[in-house]
């Protein structure tokens, strides 16, 4: 499954997912009483050493900030124009450290653990008739649908290329929309035929 997670057995991997999420939340709240640049800088140094402690793959994971660099440049430029240079530096340092800390949780926690950690948050939804089972099924459906949609579009593109010699066209929108919706209807019918989202028979060994 596609995920940001980097496998390993480091100290960060051994911490519980819930502990990491709560810590992340607390740190993000700490920026309210400590907006100064030295606080962000301190955190940045800490989080960079945390990445370094994961070894080479940890350092490679730092590339997560690359797509943000132009936005940071843009924010700094605006602050320079406005004459609030110091604030601009503090803001960019804060964003840098926060993004890296949050990403650190994502790369050291497998998807399944993350899901289990947030599962209790969904329990109140049972009150409205939404079971955690339906949520798990929805997540599984999305993960399955993504390659199906990409495949569907690719096959339409291929047929269009064979006919016209062109790769892409707005003309593909209509067949794509209708094919996709038809496919979803079939999936829904198949789901109902098998007892529906709630009624899937439990197999032995299943939770």
């Amino acid at each position: 499954m596609i995920s940001l997670y980097i496998g390993g057995t480091s100290w960060a991997h051994r911490l519980s997912a819930r502990f990491k999420l709560v810590t992340l939340f607390i740190i993000s709240l700490l920026f309210i009483p400590f907006p100064q640049y030295w606080f962000s800088l301190g955190l940045l140094v800490l989080v960079l050493s945390a990445y370094a402690s994961l070894g080479e793959r940890g350092l490679l994971a730092l590339k997560v900030v690359r797509p943000l660099l132009w936005i940071f440049g843009f924010i700094l430029a605006f602050h320079v124009v406005l004459g609030s240079y110091a604030e601009g530096v503090a803001v960019v340092l804060r964003l840098f450290s926060m993004v890296l800390i949050a990403n650190f949780v994502s790369i050291t926690t497998p998807l399944e653990e993350m899901m289990d950690a947030v599962e209790p948050l969904f329990r109140p939804l049972g009150f409205f008739g939404v079971s955690t089972r339906r949520i798990s099924l929805a997540v599984a459906l999305v993960i399955r649908f993504i390659p199906v949609l990409l495949g569907l579009y690719a096959s339409l593109q291929e047929a269009y290329f064979a006919r016209t010699g062109k790769r892409n066209s707005w003309r593909l929108l209509a067949p794509f929309a209708l094919h996709t919706l038809k496919m979803a209807e079939h999936v829904a019918e198949a789901l109902t035929a098998r007892g529906g989202a709630e009624g899937l028979p439990k197999r032995s060994g299943e939770r």
Partner: protein, 185 residues
Amino acid sequence: MTKDRSLVQIALYAALIAALGFMPAFSIPFLSGVPITAQSLGVMLAGVMLGPVRGSLAVILFLFLVALGMPLLAGGRGGLAVFYGPSAGFLIGWVLGAFVAGSVMKATGERNVLFSAALSAVIGGIGAVYLIGIPGLSILAGLPLDKAALGSLVYIPGDLIKVAITAVVAQTVARGMPSALLSRA
């Protein structure tokens, strides 16, 4: 409308938003160089096609998968980091955007689908998204509101193209498979 059908439709539009992140960006000659993600097209479509509640649930489901650690945002971004980045407000704005687009679609139920869908996409997919996104950028980047708005203006031309696509797709579905236009069903 069965519960199963609702569930599948919500998952389908969440997947559509994700799939649009894999598509190579539409090249816009007069704005080359500005990265434009096609994903907000999925947000507009979710609201317009599914209606307010299912539409916003589809966006929430997509954001949930991103938060769990799947790199589903355009450019392979994802994980908890994106909710702490400068454009976090826009992601939250997507939820409201789909809700508002769906509501407008419902409220203009007796109008022509092409017009109604375009109006919904403009008010929800642009208006509501920026309503949350710009103050978010302003707070996170420490910039005054008007400067944050100015910086977001570059995305408007791309958004208008997405509005046009949303309207055409909604019209196509209304003709070819009216039962799938759940906001009107």
